[in-house]
């Protein structure tokens, strides 16, 4: 690997980017996704976090242009030079330009250039890496069409970027195992796409201070949010994650940033729609959607998009019923039922939790669905509830999942 003369780098961990325009070769959502995934490659191996801005000046300004485009390095038509980017500094520093005379694609074909691969390379420059003479490295200067499914950053690139920025913060002591592979997902024709609303302010959550990880078997352990993900169960508290999996023994300790570097800690709620291989995270009045490690483009969105009244500024918990395709949202002493097929709140809601869920007379802090049962967590207890009858079966400690 190499760096630029004097090894310029960003002197902060929160770096912003903005996509100034789009190529007509691809859907805008696909461009957004390619760029976001390219940033995730680098954030997954450094302490860096990337936030997208929709207006104003960002550290890394991304644009498509042909021929002469305002700097001293004009593009050259189809082929030849595909893109370039500037090393970290003010002004044009960090900016990445893509030659619009190329045919950009989200595929790896012979008839175009994969935007994710080229963007990942250019963003390496935006972060301070020069070219590598290691054949197969991402920072090798020649375009190499590579399978981008489950693309992993080559070791030379990891070495280079970590020489500049170091490894990610709070790396788990044990190696983090990859999430199970994605199963074929169901698509729902009735799902209406939600308009993404650009925001003036940065899209990152507001980070909070990080206390020490609570002990697994602390009898007073509480959780912010709980969700399943591809057959596993993730328990969230602050920045910490406890991961229980049928594929390995024990409880794995992780952090939110180790899975989703651009999501700040402190979720309010989370749930999985397993048929769509999608998990939604909620914090304050926004929500994000992820698929495995990938944050879906077009997020965050306001929770009002789901049909909450404006008076609801945050939710406490959420859980999805796979059989009925309904998601239950809990806030205060009330709950809503959301139809995932029609993407709308059901009539007659909100209703009082205590009216319908016998034995649950309080707020729900987190909720989980497992093996046909709901588990509602409140403080350091959890309540096992039959989904169909909505009746309480038994009460346990919240950390009974940890084999204490």
């Amino acid at each position: 690997y190499s760096t630029f003369p004097q090894s310029p780098k960003w002197r902060k961990e929160d770096v912003t980017y903005r996509i100034l325009n789009y190529t007509p070769d691809m859907l805008q959502a696909d461009v957004d996704e390619a760029i976001a995934k390219a940033f995730q490659l680098w954030s997954s191996v450094t302490p860096l976090r990337f936030t997208r801005l929709y207006s104003g000046q960002a550290d890394i300004m991304i644009s498509f242009a042909a021929g002469f485009h305002g700097d001293f390095y004009s593009f050259d038509g189809p082929g030849g030079t595909l893109a370039h980017a500037y090393p970290p500094s003010s002004g044009i520093g960090g900016d990445a330009h893509f030659d619009e005379d190329e045919n950009w694609t989200k595929f790896t074909t012979y008839s175009g250039y994969n935007l994710f691969l080229v963007a990942a390379h250019e963003l390496g420059h935006s972060l301070g890496l020069g070219h590598s003479n290691v054949f197969g490295a991402l920072m090798y200067p020649i375009y190499m069409a590579t399978d981008t499914r489950d693309y992993r950053l080559p070791q030379d690139d990891i070495d280079g970027i970590q020489a500049l920025y170091g490894p990610p913060r709070e790396s788990p002591v044990l190696p983090t195992k990859a999430f199970p592979p994605q199963e074929p997902t169901e698509t729902t024709s009735a799902e209406a796409p939600t308009q993404m609303l650009p925001r003036e302010e940065p899209t990152a959550m507001t980070p909070s201070k990080t206390p020490a990880r609570p002990e697994d078997c602390d009898p007073h352990l509480t959780f912010d949010a709980i969700t399943t993900l591809r057959g596993e169960i993730l328990f969230f508290k602050g920045s910490y994650v406890w991961r229980r999996s049928p594929y390995f023994s024990g409880i794995e300790h992780d952090t939110i940033s180790s899975f989703w570097p651009s999501l700040a800690p402190g979720f309010d709620a989370a749930y999985e729609i397993d048929k769509k291989d999608r998990v939604l995270f909620f914090k304050d009045d926004q929500y994000w959607a992820v698929s495995g490690y990938n944050i879906e483009p077009g997020f965050p969105r306001p929770i009002q998009n789901l049909g909450f009244p404006t008076s609801v500024r945050k939710i406490d918990a959420a859980v999805h019923d796979q059989k009925t395709k309904k998601t239950y949202f809990f806030a205060g002493n009330k709950y809503w039922s959301f139809n995932e097929n029609t993407q709308s709140m059901e009539r007659g809601y909100p209703r009082k939790i205590a009216s319908d869920f016998q034995g649950i007379g309080h707020r729900v802090d987190a909720a989980l669905q497992n093996n046909g049962l709901f588990y509602f967590f409140h403080e350091s207890n959890q309540y096992e509830v039959d989904i169909k009858s909505k009746k309480l079966i038994r009460t346990m400690k919240s950390n009974s999942w940890f084999n204490c």
Binding site: S2, F4, P5, Y73, F75, G79, G80, T81, L82, A83, H84, A85, E102, Y113, V118, H121, E122, H125, G130, H131, N133, F135, P141, I142, Y143
Partner: protein, 80 residues
Amino acid sequence: FPVVPEKEKEDMQFAKKYLENFYDFKEEKNSLFKSKNLNHMAEKVREMQSFFGLEVTGKLNRKTLDMMKQPRCGIPDIRA
């Protein structure tokens, strides 16, 4: 096979441009010593061949030209 002179000239111009863009080659246009320019260019060709793991000859052979014609990033390969 005999080399077509026009093609050879084109390849030379292309290679010069490539080395200017990516290997900090600066041709002294007003130099009276053509051989000095050629030597400097050969040095840059060697640098490029070494970077890409090609046989380091300083000559614009087919493999070197083919490598120069690959689609690539616009940033130089050497610190400049």
